[in-house]
């Protein structure tokens, strides 16, 4: 065991010294951006020398971890509030914050023709449960609540709400058919620009405040060229195209 470890250390050291310019970038990614970021990272690794290590989870948890010294160089949040708070607390490289994607909310069901433009079944209360992300925790939850308020359906639907801790869990509730309806991120149900399963209604953007998702370069990355390159890469056409195909808007 010890020998194996030693060999691994040696190899690692060797590979680092042989590619002097390559960096390892640790990225904390909000769960809704999981699929898109995997594609982007793969492309980025092809187009550069750098290696990307992705961690997926809730933005709130990453926020707490970063404050307590978690070894991330880049943080892709699901909202703006947390990157702003980190900026104020001096955890990020000044002026590195920008909006990398704006989320789109969709009402979704795994059943075909269950969701239409007129959200008939939602209006009529014709469903067992309505899944949404916890508005207290997730920006997609805030947006979902705003939509229901705008449609004047909040009070009538509230008894049937089931809340996911994050948008991934909300998706899971609907995907396993435990909830007939759910407000999910369009990115979760979209593959190559089309919704592949069930029926959905892409919520008009005027019904909720934009779900701006901000990225920041953390202080730990001051000397990490890879991290800086990755953030720059998010603006590239390749990345923007991927982000768009997953149902996000870009600025």
């Amino acid at each position: 065991m010890k020998l194996l470890k030693g060999v691994m250390m040696l190899t690692l050291g060797f590979s680092i010294s042989s590619t002097v310019l390559a960096d390892v970038v640790h990225v904390a990614v909000a769960s809704n951006f999981t699929a898109a970021m995997k594609d982007i990272a793969a492309q980025f690794e092809k187009d550069s020398e750098h290696t990307v290590i992705l961690s997926f989870g809730s933005s709130g948890k990453f926020f707490a971890q970063i404050q307590n010294g978690a070894p991330f160089e880049v943080f892709l949040s699901a909202d703006q509030a947390k990157p702003i708070a980190l900026e104020k607390a001096g955890f990020i490289v000044p002026n590195s914050r920008f909006t990398y994607a704006t989320g789109t909310l969709a009402l979704w069901s795994t059943k075909a023709d269950f969701v239409d433009k007129n959200y008939t079944n939602l209006k009529k209360g014709n469903f067992n449960k309505l899944a949404l992300a916890n508005p207290k925790l997730a920006p997609y939850g805030v947006a979902a609540e705003e939509v229901l308020t705008a449609l004047n359906l909040k009070n009538s639907t509230q008894p049937k709400w089931v809340m996911g801790e994050n948008i991934s869990q909300t998706y899971q509730f609907v995907a396993t058919d435990n909830a007939d309806l759910g407000f999910v991120a369009l990115s979760q149900i979209m593959d190559n620009g089309i919704v592949t399963k069930g029926s959905s209604w892409i919520i008009p953007s005027e019904l909720y405040s934009p779900i701006r998702q901000d990225a920041v370069l953390l202080k730990t990355a001051q000397n990490n060229d890879g991290a800086k390159a990755l953030l720059k890469y998010l603006h590239s056409d390749t990345a923007q195209h991927i982000i768009y195909d997953y149902g996000y808007k870009t600025e």
């Binding site: 809730s58 708070a85 067992n128 207290k136 809340m163 869990q169 396993t176 058919d177």
Partner: protein
């Protein structure tokens, strides 16, 4: 310090743990008795299934329960046929999930205690005209008492601390499925660290008290026998 939602979560958690423990004692006792006595080849597989929650990540168990209890799962189809609807996002659903999750913590101490009794006291009771049920209630139950104390405390405490399964099948509904551990998680996620501290502190003190009671009782019973 504690909000109304916190208090509701504590109350719900106590209710859940009490219900689950009571159910587990009823369900776990015959399972433990069977496991303690059987020579069937089924003993190993059944024992392994009971012990699964010890090694499975709670999220795995929660995920399977979510699927199984869903409208297309085998439990879900069964409960729908009974006219009970589906179980996820309900208190009953949490009870069912917790029963699976805490099962080994009740069955194993009971099984150990029952195995320790051995065959002899049962034979003695039989020669004193005690039938099988009589033997069970007047010999097995009292002699397995230390096992029942351990099982009750562990079952209760483990259900109190359960998180992964609740997260998966709960849906965070106040008074239904929002238990203390979820509430703490929400506080942390919402950056309400002070409230998280209070609730978490209560959990720590409670868990310590429970374990203290457990070890205290074990010392007493071992002195007694």
């Amino acid at each position: 310090m504690l909000t109304e939602a916190d208090l509701a979560a504590i109350w719900l958690t106590l209710k859940l743990a009490t219900t689950v423990t009571a159910l587990l004692l009823v369900i776990g006792t015959p399972i433990a008795w069977w496991l303690a006595r059987t020579r069937s080849w089924l003993k190993a597989p059944v024992g392994a299934i009971v012990a699964l929650p010890l090694v499975l990540p709670p999220t795995v168990l929660g995920f399977y329960l979510l699927i199984a209890m869903g409208p297309n799962g085998f439990i879900g189809e069964f409960t729908q046929q009974l006219g009970l609807g589906t179980l996820p996002f309900t208190f009953s659903g949490l009870v069912v999930g917790s029963v699976f999750y805490s099962l080994p913590f009740v069955v194993q101490p009971l099984q150990n205690a029952m195995q320790a009794i051995g065959e002899r006291p049962m034979e003695v009771a039989a020669t004193l005209r005690a039938g099988p049920w009589d033997r069970f209630f007047t010999v097995v139950l009292p002699l397995a008492r230390p096992g029942f104390i351990t099982a009750t405390i562990l079952g209760f405490a483990h259900t109190m601390g359960e998180f992964g399964v609740v997260l998966m099948i709960g849906g965070n509904i106040p008074d239904q499925t929002r238990v203390v551990s979820v509430q703490i998680y929400d506080h942390v996620e919402a950056l309400e660290y002070a409230q998280a501290h209070t609730l978490a502190g209560i959990m720590v003190i409670f868990s310590f008290a429970v374990l203290l009671a457990l070890y205290g009782s074990q010392r007493k019973t071992s002195l007694w026998s």
